[in-house]
C-alpha cells in the first residue's frame, strides 16, 4: 500500500543473455522511432506521431513480467509497447505508412496498433479510455476461469480523468486482475504534473480504492522489470489490481506538432543523462557482459531490423477504396 519507490539499484543476478535482450529491445524501440520521426519529416508517416524515446525501459521492463496469455491495453504512444510485446516491426511501420500489411490494415495508424494474436488490444487515443476496457478484459478472464492478467498502460495525465477513478474502484471492488501501469513522464502534453495533479504522488492514489501500489524508477529497466514482476505476481496470486507508477521522462516533444515550449533545455538534458539505454549499457559494460564489439553488432542488427521494417512497409499495398466499409461490421450480421 506504500508508494515508496523501489530502489533503483538493479537486482544482482543480471544474466548476460537477458541483459542483452533488454538492451536490444530498447535499442530497437529507439531506432525504430528515430526512423519513424525521419519518415514523418519525409511525409511517409502522417497524422499524430507520439514518440516513446526516453521511456523505453518502461514497456521493455514491464513486458518481461507478462505471459502470452496476458492482455495488454496501451495508449496512442504505444510503438514501444507493441515492439516489446513482440509485434514485428514491419507491420507496425506498415501501419504508420497506412498500408494493408499494417498491423491494423492501415486503418489505425500510429495511435491504433492492434495485434490480437499477441493479445495486444491497442492503441487507445482518448486519454483514459483504455482503463475501463482493461477492467472488462480482466472481468472476462475471471468469469471464464482464465489465469491471465491485464496490463493497462496510461500516462500521468490520464490520472486526472474520471475514467481512472471509476476503473480503479471497479477493478478493486470486483477483485479483478488488472495491473495498472502509470507511465509518469511528468507532463500531460505541456502541462506539468504539479499543474494537473493536486497530489503528485500518483502511487499514493491507490489507497483511495484499497489498491496496493508501488512506484519505480522508470529509467532503470532492471528495476522496472523487478517491480513489474513483483506487482504482476501479486495480481496473479491475489487476483486483485495493483497500481504501479513508473517514473520516466520523454526526451522528445509530445507529438510532431509540439514546439515543446514548456520545458527547459536543462531539464531535458538532465533527464537525458539518465537515458535508460545508457544506464543499461553501463551496467552491461561490466566485464563478461557485453563488449564494444558485441554492442556494435547489436546496433547493426537493430538497424537492419528497422531497415527491413521500412522495406516491408514500403512494399505494402494501399487498401483499395472499395474496401472502405469492410470491417465496419463482421461479415455475417445477425
Amino acid at each position: 500500500m506504500t508508494s515508496g519507490i523501489i530502489p533503483a539499484a538493479s537486482p544482482p543476478g543480471l544474466e548476460r543473455e537477458h541483459g542483452t535482450a533488454l538492451l536490444r529491445m530498447m535499442l530497437l524501440i529507439r531506432r525504430f522511432e528515430e526512423k519513424a520521426a525521419e519518415l514523418y519529416g519525409a511525409g511517409k508517416i502522417r497524422g499524430f506521431l507520439h514518440l516513446y524515446i526516453g521511456e523505453e525501459a518502461v514497456a521493455t521492463g514491464v513486458m518481461q513480467a507478462l505471459t502470452p496469455d496476458d492482455n495488454i491495453v496501451a495508449t496512442y504512444r504505444e510503438h514501444g509497447h507493441a515492439l516489446a510485446r513482440g509485434v514485428p516491426a514491419g507491420p507496425i511501420m506498415a501501419e504508420m505508412f497506412g498500408r494493408v500489411n499494417g498491423c491494423s490494415r492501415g486503418r489505425g495508424g500510429s495511435m491504433h496498433l492492434f495485434d490480437v494474436s499477441r493479445r495486444f488490444f491497442g492503441g487507445f487515443a482518448i486519454v483514459g479510455g483504455g482503463l475501463p476496457i482493461a477492467v472488462g478484459l480482466a472481468l472476462a478472464d475471471r468469469m471464464l476461469g482464465r489465469a491471465a492478467i491485464t496490463a493497462c498502460f496510461f500516462g500521468d495525465g490520464a490520472v486526472a480523468e474520471g475514467a481512472f477513478h471509476e476503473s480503479l474502484n471497479l477493478a478493486a471492488l470486483w477483485r479483478l486482475p488488472v495491473l495498472f501501469l502509470c507511465e509518469n513522464n511528468l507532463y500531460a502534453m505541456g502541462t506539468a504534473l504539479a499543474r494537473h495533479q493536486a497530489e503528485t504522488d500518483i502511487a499514493a492514489k491507490g489507497a483511495a480504492y484499497g489498491v496496493p501500489s508501488s512506484a519505480v524508477d522508470g529509467m532503470d529497466v532492471l528495476a522496472v522489470e523487478a517491480a513489474a514482476r513483483t506487482a504482476a505476481d501479486a495480481v496473479r496470486r491475489e487476483g486483485r489490481p495493483h497500481l504501479l507508477e513508473l517514473r520516466t521522462y520523454r526526451f522528445r516533444a509530445h507529438s510532431m506538432y509540439d514546439p515543446d515550449l514548456y520545458r527547459t533545455r536543462d531539464e531535458i538534458e538532465t533527464w537525458k543523462r539518465r537515458d535508460p539505454i545508457l544506464l543499461l549499457q553501463a551496467r552491461m559494460a561490466e566485464p563478461g557482459m557485453l563488449g564494444r564489439e558485441q554492442l556494435a553488432a547489436l546496433e547493426r542488427e537493430v538497424e537492419r531490423e528497422v531497415a527491413d521494417a521500412v522495406t516491408f512497409a514500403d512494399a505494402g499495398q494501399l487498401e483499395p477504396v472499395s474496401e472502405l466499409l469492410t470491417h465496419l461490421h463482421a461479415a455475417a450480421a445477425p
Partner: protein, 325 residues
Amino acid sequence: MRTTYREAARAALREALRTDPRVFLMGEDVGRYGGAYAVSRGLLEEFGPDRVRDTPLSESAFVGAGIGAALGGMRPIVEVMTVNFSLLALDQIVNNAATLRHMSGGQLGVPLVIRMATGAGRQLAAQHSHSLECWYAHVPGIRVVAPATLEDARGMLPTALRSPDPVVIFEHASLYPVEGDLADGAGAVDLERAVVRRPGRDLTLITYGGSLGKALAAAETLAREGVEAEVVDLRVLRPLDLPAIVGSVQRTHRAIIVDEGWRTGGLAGEISACITERAFYELDAPVERVCTAEVPIPYAKQLEDAALPQVDTIVAACRAIMGRP
C-alpha cells in the same frame, strides 16, 4: 399468454442467462434492487451475483468494462439505467465499441448489448426525460433498435446477443407496464425490418418505441373520419429499413414521422430526407414531422404534455397533410 412488456423483457434476459454461459447482466441496481424498472427482478436470486452484477455509479467504467469483456470473449448485457445517464458513457460507445473492429482492421469484435430506458412523459423534468436515440442512430458501427411491442421486447435481445457487433436497445419507460398477449413460443425476431403495424392507403405514419401507441390511436381516430393511415414501426433505428419505409410512402404518397425526440436534428428529419430522396416524385405533399418541442422537458404536466407529441397533435398533422380542416 397474457403478460407485460416488462415481463417479456425479463423473460428474454432469463433465457439468455440460462442458455449462454458467456452472457451476464451488469448495470446500476440490476441486482438487489431488481432494476430501476423492475425488469431484472429475480434474476440475481436465480443466477447469482457473478452473472447479475450491480455496478457502482460509474457509467463510463462499466460500459467500457462491457466492451472489454466482450473483447475478452463474454457476451455482456450492460444496462444503462436510462439514456439520460448514457451521456457519461458515450465516449466509450462512440470511440471504442463502434470503432474497434474497423480500426483494428477486423481483428477485434465487440459483441456487446446495451439496454437503456428512454423517453419522457412521466413528469421527470429536463434531466430525466431525454430521447436521444437519434444520436446513437448516427454512429456507424453499432446497431440501434427500439422494441415497441411485447414480441420485440421478448425477441430482440436474443438476436442482439447473436450479433458479433454492438447493439443498443432502447426501451421506452412508459412501455414497461403495457399488457398484451405473447405467443407461448415467442422468441428471437429479426433486427432488420420495419413493420407495418396497421395498413392504410391514405398516408403513412412512421414511428417507433413509445410513440407507436400514440400513432395507432391517432390512426383509429382518423379511421372514424374516413382517413386510413398506415402505421410503420421502424423497430430498427440503425440501419433504417428504407425499402419498407419508402415502400409504404409509395403506396400512400404522404408521410408523417412521429418522434419523441426534439425536432431539429432528430431522427424524423433524417427519415424525411431519405423519403424525399427516394420518392420525391411520388409524394403528394411534403413529408411532415410531429416531434417534441425544442425545450428542456418541463416538470409540470400541462407543459410536458404540450411539449411531447400527442394523439391529437398527430391527428391534426394528418388532417393537415390530407388537406382537411
